[in-house]
């Protein structure tokens, strides 16, 4: 009888042998950077989904029913501007016009402030050009006291909630009317009144905070839900994982939005893991509901957000929404997209421009006309210019005035501790 079984020698072939006649050595896969600035724009890798074909499940379905939607694209507006399918929210024309106006205001605001940076009046700016349907459409679908945890690219949320442009401009100028006392970079707004959380310069951090706020709301038996936003690039941060984990474990009443605008500065969404799966699909492994939406389709954005909001409010848990769009603007005023992508890539985006598409839709409905569009255009230009001038009268970054240096030591703590008082003295103020 022999039980003296040696333990040391494993049975499979040694590592150096190739299995199944496959390739003999390992290779590292680096996602290709494509297309390069000099190449013609190429969106051939972006699948074309027709509008109206994705079914709209009941908000009460188990999460897994939504999982096949991770590989589709919810679209309500077709290329001709007609609304079709179950995801058409059937908004009245008045609401559609309000949506159009808010999107246009957002774009005009962005344009002015971008120029202000070029003129040296502010230090920095970030536009959301091409992504206006997201901020505006989502704000429209949420209740005004639902709490928002945005990134720097959802100014549309604030504008759609009617938050004064003047206030936003003064933040960018860091002038004495800046409610943030000149402490934050331009565009990192905060407004408790508008239920809009203070935007962080650190990517991702707000995403699980939204889950915590939602947990608190649920704990208190409140009715308000929370919504968080994150860029597709930032989904690689731990915060994304934490948001999904905690939302799943505690069934938090939150909407988790991934804005996939294809780029994270110069890195294509492939570098964030978009090559092998959609970002909506991240929900599957956590048993969360997911929707993947044409982010340039105001109607689809609105409808999907409303679906997720109703689901959350009904204690059915969180939904991850991937908003598929394109960052038409440079990343920020510090960015030089001409170094890493073809200049006209945005113009060729297969899902068009959100403002044009909604405008066309209103026309198709017979609720809009070239004249009304032109009038609204000039109205908005005037409005932004006028408010802009007023804001500048309060001070610009380059010319001042600014908050006094005394204020630098405030709000670090609720009450100023002794050592900060001493430091203030040391500064001689």
């Amino acid at each position: 009888m022999d039980t003296a079984i040696p333990v040391s020698e494993p049975s499979p072939p040694a590592a150096s042998a190739a299995p199944d006649g496959g390739p003999p050595v390992l290779k590292l896969h680096i996602p290709a950077h494509h297309p390069a600035p000099d190449d013609p724009p190429d969106h051939s890798a972006v699948p074309r989904f027709p509008a109206g074909i994705v079914e709209r499940p009941d908000i009460a379905v188990p999460a897994h029913v939504t999982h096949p939607l991770a590989d589709k694209l919810i679209r309500a507006l077709d290329d001709d501007g007609t609304a079709i399918g179950g995801w058409d929210p059937k908004l009245d024309p008045e609401t559609l016009r309000r949506g159009l106006r808010a999107m246009m205001l957002t774009r005009a605001y962005d344009e002015r402030m971008f120029r202000q940076q070029r003129q040296g009046k502010i230090t920095f700016y970030m536009k959301c050009t091409g992504e206006e349907a997201i901020g505006v459409g989502q704000a429209f679908a949420l209740a005004p006291d639902d709490m928002l945890f945005p990134t720097y690219r959802q100014q549309g949320l604030l504008i759609a909630r009617g938050w004064p442009l003047l206030d936003m401009m003064c933040q960018c100028y860091s002038n004495p009317r800046d409610r943030l006392k000149g402490r934050q970079l331009p565009v990192l707004y905060s407004s408790k009144e508008a239920s809009f959380f203070t935007i962080s310069g650190n990517l991702g951090t707000q995403f699980p905070q939204a889950v915590g706020w939602a947990m608190a709301s649920a704990y208190k038996g409140d009715r308000r839900i929370a919504a968080g936003w994150i860029g597709e690039g930032s989904t690689a941060e731990p915060d994304f994982h934490h948001a999904l984990t905690f939302a799943s474990v505690y069934r938090a009443p939150v909407i988790l939005n991934v804005v996939n605008n294809q780029w994270a500065i110069s890195s294509h969404q492939d570098i964030a893991g978009g090559e092998a799966a959609t970002f909506a699909a991240r929900a599957i492994g956590f048993g969360l509901a997911c929707l993947r939406v044409d982010g340039n389709d105001f109607l689809a954005v609105y409808a999907a957000t409303l679906w997720a909001a109703q689901r959350a409010r009904a204690n059915r848990g969180a939904t991850l929404i991937e908003l598929f769009t394109y960052r038409a603007a440079p990343h920020s005023t510090s960015d030089e997209p001409s170094r890493y992508r073809p200049e006209d890539e945005g113009l060729n985006w297969p899902y068009g421009d959100p403002i044009e598409r909604l405008s066309r839709h209103l026309s198709v409905l017979g609720e809009w006309s070239a004249e009304r569009q032109a009038q609204l255009d000039s109205e908005i230009v005037d409005e932004v210019r006028e408010i802009g001038r007023e804001a500048e009268r309060h001070g610009t970054f380059d010319q001042g005035p600014h908050f006094s240096a005394r204020t630098m030591f405030e709000d670090v703590f609720k009450e100023m501790p002794e050592h900060l008082r001493r430091q203030r003295q040391e500064l001689g103020i």
Partner: protein, 337 residues
Amino acid sequence: MPAMTMVQALNSAMDLMLARDPDVVIFGEDVGFYGGVFRVTEGLQKKHGDQRVFDAPIAEGGMLAVAVGMGAYGLRPVVEIQFADYIYPATDQLISEAARLRYRSGGEFWAPITVRAPCGGGIFGGQTHSQSVEAIFTHVCGLKTVIPSNPYDAKGLLISAIEDDDPVVFFEPKRLYHGPFDGHPERPAVPWTGHRQAEVPEGYYSVPLGKAALVREGAAVTVLAYGTMVHVALAAAEESGTDAEIIDLRTLLPLDLDTIVASVKKTGRCVVAHEATRTGGFGAELAALVQEHCFYHLEAPVVRVTGWDTPYPHALEWAYFPGPNRVADGIRRALEG
């Protein structure tokens, strides 16, 4: 007055705050049904319900993030990090978020979070269950940092921390959970019973943040210590027969500089003692401050007695730990100049 261990005192603080304030919630790894690996939250879930005291996924950063969101809503979350050594994944949410909210929002948002974490060595925890990481947080503006040394303070300070509207990092020297420790591992373990500072009122009281305690009066040298090292410093003073004045800092930030300066101006000599690694430890800040504020009263350099600049080695625990002999030696050096 009942004698409480540090564990019981901390438990009592949370029990009271849960009862007084419906906005207090407590979560962390294993804190719910089990009551925490050190049993500090024992019985709290049973008494206050699992909506108020619950287990969290193993994600220190996630816990802090969620606490920031809860704080912004209006709750007062108390988060347990199972060991201070595991706080690193939470540093971004603590430093970039909890500590900065109020400032960056112009005072509109804040997060009244208390982060509890057992710290320090003395239990053969090896390099990942023994760290003292306070210096990382005292460098961050917007955070308060507290380290109690006895049951009475532990309860009173924890109540203050939970009531505070700023984020507080609250380190609990785990070696003190069940009894004071003078740094002599060869002697039998002593329970808290009978210790003056283990007489803890069952009801509500608080010990203010930012106030040090004079635990031993003396004229020859000032010893600045906190946590376990307060007891070690006392032993060192007794054993070396030195007329040392010992100050228990209790709160590192905001620091009670007045008490420190008054003492050092009196004694003219100063020893700083902590378990953390030396370079860049909180002792560096203390030495810097003392020489800034008491330079013309100092008769000798401020001496630092600290953990070495190495990880905490499992089997060499007592060669690493700055025990009474090393503190006494530090005192001697401060006296000799």
